[in-house]
Symmetry: C2
Subunit: 625 residues, 2 copies
C-alpha cells in the first residue's frame, strides 16, 4: 500500500491510513501548496543538492568505494556530516510525487541519484559519503554526532517510498543493502552503540512493514529501548541533547534537542504499534509526554523547541516568542509522532494537533513561491533586529541552508499530505483534515468540497457508497470550534461537539453531509506560567493563528509598540482579501501605542508572514492594562 | 603606580585612579568578599588549575619548546584552546593580592607558574600551550577561534600586574617577550590577521603605559581600528559574533558575543585615552553604544547578554529573565569598559553602572563561601527545570568549568576592587563606590565608615587634610536615590541630587562629611518594549535588586505562581536579618497566586541567591492584573 506509514495487518490500530493515491486534494489551500511543491520546490531541490555539493560528495565516495586506498580528506568534502540525508529526504519527496502523478522527469531524477548512491555504496552495504570521503574505513568513530544511523534512516525511508512508488528499483536495493549492513553491525552480536540522532527507528519499522523481515523491527526496538541510559555525550553536549537522559518508558516530557526528541517518540510509536509487549511498556509514557508537550512546551503556532542553544525544548512554560527556535523539522517530527499515535489510538487530539501544526508553524516554513524556507519559525521579530545567524527570521526565508534539513523535509511532507486527510476502519471513513478532495476507501468514494481554512463549511458528497452502502462517515470537529453543526442528507441539523461527529446509515450516491464550523475571530490567552506573553493575546480564526507585520501598519505605528485596546474579539473583524498573499482572510482592528498613537491594524495568517517585505512581526499582542 | 589601569600623564583623563594600596577596604560587605577571595578562592584556583591540567599543558609545551620535533598531539592536551588564559587571570589575581598584603605563599605560587610559563615559551617569545602541544610550529592557523592573541592579552595583563606588584620578575619577562613577539608578528610589516576574541587591546595599552614603548600602543590601535570589516568568521559563526561586523567608530549598539563586545569597547577606550586622534574618532561611538547597551540590552541585575546561543547580546529589549545568559565575564568586561570611560569623562553614569553591576550580576557569580561560581546569571529558574548544560543555574554554582573563564576573572576583579572606590584630580577626591575604607590620595587621607549596601549612611572623616588642606571632596549620589542629603562638618544639611555632591573647603583633621542615602523599598518596571516582563515589577532597595527563592516561601506557594497583589512598594518591608546569608537585609510582603492562595514571601538580594537549597527563583514578579 502506498504511503509513508503502513501498519501491518497485525498492528494495533484504532484506525488505518488510506493509500496516498486514493486521496486527491483537488483545489484550494493545500492543492496550491502541493502544486508549488511539485513544480517549483522539488526541481529547485535538485539544483540546490548539486550546488551544495551533495551529489559531488557521493561521487567522491564512489571513488573511495572503488579504491579503498583512497581517502580524499576533509578539504574536498562539502557541508556537514549529514549531507546525504538531504538527498534522501528529497528522493522521498520525489518518489511520493511520482506516485501521485507519474513523471519521466521525476523518474529520471530518482534514477540519477540512485545510481550515484549505488556507486558510492560499499560491497557490505555501508554508505555514508562523509565517512567514506573523510575517514575511509573508519566507520562509527563518532556515533554521538556522526549521524551515520541518521543518514541510514533517511535512506531507508526513501527506499521504502521508492519501493512503494516505483516497485523494485535501484534505490530500494541500495536501501535494503544498507539495512542489512545495519542489522549485521548493530543487531544481535554486533555493536551496542547508539546514534546521537534518532530517525532510523521509524525507518526500520517501516522497512519491516514493507518486507516482513522481523530483524528490522527487532533492531528498531533495540534502538528505542536501549536509549536513555545517559551514555551518549560529547561535542559539548550532555545526554539530554541526544534524547538519552531517561529511557522512553520513563519520559514524562519531551526534552533536549526537539527534533531528536520527537523523531524518537515517533519511532517508538511505530515500534509499539507492531509489538504489543512494547506497547504495554511504552504507551503510557508516549501519551504522558505528548500531553506534557502540548500543555507546557508548544507555541500557539504549534512550534516546538524554544531554545536556539541546542535547538532544544525549554523548561515547562518557557515559551519566549522572540527567541523561539520552533524548527520546521520539529513541527514535521511532531506531526509524524501525532499521525502514528492517531492511527494507534484514534484519539482526536492527535488529528487536532496535526491541523494546528500543519496550518501554522509547519507551512510557515516555506514561502508562497515555494522557493524559500524558514528553518526557525519565531513568533516575533523586533525593530532593529540584527541577525547573528543566517537562519534568523529577520533575514526572511532562505533559498537553502548550510544545514539543509528543513527544505527537503517540507517537500516530502507536502508530497505525502493527502495521506493525512482521512483514515478508515472496516465500516468507517474518518475525515481527519479538511481540504477539497476526492477520497476512495475500498469501494467507497466521496468528494469533499470546502474553502478551508478560510471558510468552515465542509460538504461531503457520497459518490459511491460501495458494498451494501452501510457505514459510518465521521468528521473531525476541531477543538477550537464550540458551535459546529452537522446537516444530514435529510436536512436535519444537529450540534456537533468537538471530537468526531458521525453519521451511520445506508449511504446513497449523491447523499450530502455538511459540517459547518463557524470561524469567529478569537483571542487566545496563554497559561499564566508562560511569563513571556503575560498580558498578551494571540489572534486566531478557525485553525489559523495570526500575526501583525509592520508592512500592514500605518507609518506612524510600530509593531513593537502595538497594543490591543481591549481583550474583546468582537472588536476585531475578519475580512476576505482575494488580492493579498494568494488570497486569504485577514483580521483588522484598532490598535494603540503607549505614546497614545492609535490606528487600524491588519493581521495576516502567521503561516503567510514574510512573503512581502520582512520586518518587525508579532503574534502575541499586549492588551492595554 | 599600582593598579590595573594607570593612564599616562599625557592621557586624556577627567579623573585619575588611586594606587590599589592607597585604598584599603577595612570591613563590611566587600571586605568580607575580598577576604574570602584571598583565603578561599585563590588557593582553590591553584588546585583547580592543576586538576584541570592547565599546569600539565604548560609542561607538555615546555617539552615541545625544548625539542621542536616533538608534537604531542590533541590526545594529551587538557581542555579547550584558551586554557592558558585561566592561568593568567589567576596569576593576575595573585599579583594584586600580594600587592595588597605580601605573602610568601602567593609569591611562591607566582614563581612556580612563572617558571612553567618561561619553560614553555619559545625562543622568539611565542607561548601558547595548545598550539605548541597540538600543532607544534603551526601558529595562527585559526585566528578566528584559536584565541592566541586572547591568551597573549591575558598573559600581558598578568605580567603588568606582576611588574606592579613584584617589580622585575620572571612573569614580567615572559610577558615582555610575548609582547615583543606579537609586535614583530602583527606589527608593521607583519600579518594583518585579527584574533577572534578581543582582550589584547587593553593589555597592549597597559603595557605601553608600563614601559613607555609606543609600538605596543600602536599595535593596540591597529587591532581596534582594523576590526569591523566582516572578515572574521568560521566555526559556524558570522562576523557579528567576533565583534567584526562594523568598525568600532560606526558601532551604535554592542552586539554579538557579549564578552568580546565589551572587552573590545574597553580596549578601544584605553587606546582612545592615550591618543587624542583616536579619541576624536571613537569617543562618540563609545558613548553611543554604551547608552544603547544600558537602555536596551542590560538586565535589571546589570547582567549582559540575553542569548545562550553565541553567548550574545540579543536585539534591543530582548531581555528574557529565564533564559538569560548574563555571563559573569560580561559583567566584568562591562565594568572594565565603564571604569575606563569614567576616568576619561568623569561622567557619573559610569560609576553608577559599576555599582549596579558589582552588587548584583557580578557578585552573584561567586558563592558566599568563595568555593563555587556561576557562569550564567539568569533572573529566573522555573519549577521542573531540567538542566541541559552544566552551566545552567538550576545546577547551582559550580566548583569549576570546562571553559573556566569566569572563576579567575572574578578573583582578579575582587583583588583589584579597592582601586575602583575612589578617583582623584589635583584638587579633588571623588568617592565613586561605597565601602568602609581608608583612602590616601597624595598627602590627603580620609576614613569612610558605612554599612553599605545594607544602609545608606556614609560618613567620611578627614584624617589628614594634606598640603594647605583646601580641596574638594566629592561623593557620588547614586541615580536610584532621589532623597539624598549631605551634612557638612558644620552640621548644615543640603539636598544632594543624583550625580556628584561635593564640598570644597579648607579641611581640618576630624572634619566629617555625611552622605545619607535613604533606601526605601522600590518596585522597578521595565521599558514597555521588554515584552518578557510585561506586567511585572522587580524589587529593589538601595543598589540591590532582589530575588524570591522557593526556599523562603511557605510550602503551599510556588515561585512560579507568585504574584504581587499591588504595584505598591509601601506594602513591602525591609528587614535586617543578621542570621541569614552572612547577614543581609531582606524584603517581605504579601503574595497571591492565580489559584487564590496567599501568604508572606521573603525576597533576598539577588547576589545572594543559590547560597542555600537551589530551586525555583525569580527577580521579576507579576503584579495581579
Amino acid at each position: 500500500m502506498l504511503g509513508p506509514v503502513v501498519p501491518t495487518s497485525r498492528a494495533s490500530c484504532a484506525t488505518r491510513p488510506l493509500p496516498l493515491t486514493d486521496v486527491r486534494i483537488t483545489h484550494g489551500f493545500w492543492a496550491d501548496r502541493q502544486r508549488t511543491n511539485r513544480e517549483v520546490s522539488i526541481p529547485i531541490g535538485s539544483r540546490r543538492l548539486r550546488d551544495a555539493g551533495n551529489l559531488e560528495n557521493l561521487e567522491l565516495a564512489a571513488e573511495q568505494a572503488a579504491d579503498h586506498s583512497r581517502v580524499t580528506g576533509p578539504e574536498a568534502y562539502h557541508g556537514p556530516v549529514f549531507m546525504d540525508s538531504d538527498v534522501y529526504k528529497w528522493l522521498e519527496a520525489v518518489s511520493w510525487e511520482h506516485a501521485r502523478e507519474a513523471s519521466p522527469t521525476l523518474s529520471s531524477e530518482v534514477d540519477l541519484f540512485s545510481k550515484a548512491l549505488a556507486d558510492a555504496q560499499e560491497a557490505d552495504g555501508y554508505l555514508n559519503s562523509y565517512v567514506q570521503v573523510v575517514r575511509g574505513d573508519n566507520r562509527y568513530r563518532d556515533l554521538a554526532m556522526g549521524h551515520e544511523h541518521y543518514c541510514f534512516g533517511h535512506l531507508i525511508q526513501a527506499a521504502v517510498a521508492a519501493h512503494r512508488a516505483f516497485g523494485d528499483c535501484l534505490l530500494w536495493q541500495v536501501g535494503l543493502r544498507a539495512a542489512d549492513h545495519l542489522t549485521e553491525a548493530f543487531g544481535p552480536g554486533g555493536s551496542d552503540g547508539l546514534d546521537g540522532h534518532p530517525v532510523v527507528e521509524m525507518a526500520l519499522v517501516e522497512l519491516y512493514r514493507e518486507t516482513g523481515e522481523r530483524r528490522y523491527l527487532d533492531l528498531a526496538e533495540h534502538f528505542v529501548t536501549a536509549r536513555g541510559r545517559s551514555t551518549i555525550q560529547g561535542h559539548g553536549r550532555e545526554p539530554i541533547y541526544f534524547s538519552d537522559r531517561v529511557p522512553v518508558r520513563d519520559t514524562t516530557s519531551p526534552e533536549g534537542h526537539a527534533v531528536r526528541a520527537v523523531y524518537l517518540a515517533a519511532g517508538a510509536s511505530d515500534a509499539a504499534a507492531e509489538d504489543p509487549t512494547l506497547a504495554a511498556e511504552l504507551d503510557d509514557a508516549l501519551e504522558r509526554q505528548w500531553a506534557s508537550m502540548v500543555a507546557t512546551k508548544q507555541y500557539v503556532t504549534g512550534g516546538l523547541g524554544s531554545r536556539w542553544d541546542g535547538e532544544a525544548f525549554g523548561d515547562p512554560y518557557e515559551l519566549p516568542p522572540d527567541v523561539a527556535y520552533a524548527e520546521t523539522c520539529a513541527s514535521i517530527g511532531a506531526m509524524q509522532w501525532a499521525w502514528r499515535r492517531l492511527l494507534a489510538t484514534g484519539d482526536v487530539q492527535y488529528a487536532d494537533a496535526m491541523e494546528h501544526i500543519l496550518l501554522n508553524g509547519f507551512v510557515s516554513g516555506v514561502s508562497l513561491s515555494g522557493e524559500e524556507f524558514f528553518y526557525v519559525n519565531a513568533l516575533q521579530v523586533r525593530a532593529d533586529a540584527v541577525p547573528q545567524d543566517h537562519r534568523h527570521p529577520v533575514n526572511g526565508r532562505q533559498k537553502w541552508f548550510h544545514v539543509a534539513c528543513c527544505p527537503p523535509n517540507v517537500m516530502r511532507t507536502l508530497a505525502q499530505l493527502g495521506g493525512y486527510l482521512a483514515t478508515t476502519g472496516d465500516e468507517e471513513l474518518v475525515l481527519q483534515q479538511y481540504a477539497a478532495a476526492t477520497i476512495r476507501a475500498g469501494g467507497r468514494a466521496v468528494t469533499v468540497e470546502t474553502d478551508y481554512p478560510w471558510d468552515g463549511r465542509v460538504v461531503v458528497t457520497v459518490d459511491d457508497p460501495g458494498g451494501d452502502g452501510r457505514w459510518t462517515l465521521s468528521l473531525r470537529v476541531p477543538s477550537w470550534c464550540a458551535e459546529a453543526t452537522l446537516t444530514a442528507p435529510d436536512g436535519e441539523v444537529t450540534r456537533a461537539a468537538p471530537g468526531y461527529a458521525f453519521l451511520t446509515r445506508r449511504w446513497r450516491p449523491g447523499d450530502r453531509l455538511v459540517l459547518d464550523l463557524p470561524m469567529p475571530v478569537r483571542l487566545s490567552a496563554a497559561h499564566p506560567r508562560v511569563d513571556a506573553v503575560r498580558g498578551c493575546r494571540a489572534i486566531a480564526r478557525g485553525p489559523l493563528v495570526y500575526a501583525v507585520e509592520q508592512v500592514d501598519l500605518p507609518d506612524r505605528m510600530l509593531v513593537d509598540d502595538l497594543q490591543l485596546p481591549a481583550d474583546d474579539p468582537a472588536r476585531l473583524h475578519a475580512e476576505e482579501r482575494p488580492d493579498l498573499l494568494g488570497g486569504c482572510v485577514v483580521v483588522t482592528g484598532d490598535a494603540v501605542s503607549p505614546d497614545g498613537t492609535s490606528g487600524r491594524f491588519t493581521a495576516v495568517p502567521y503561516c503567510l508572514w514574510a512573503n512581502r517585505e520582512v520586518g518587525p512581526m508579532r503574534v502575541w499582542l499586549p492588551v492595554t492594562a
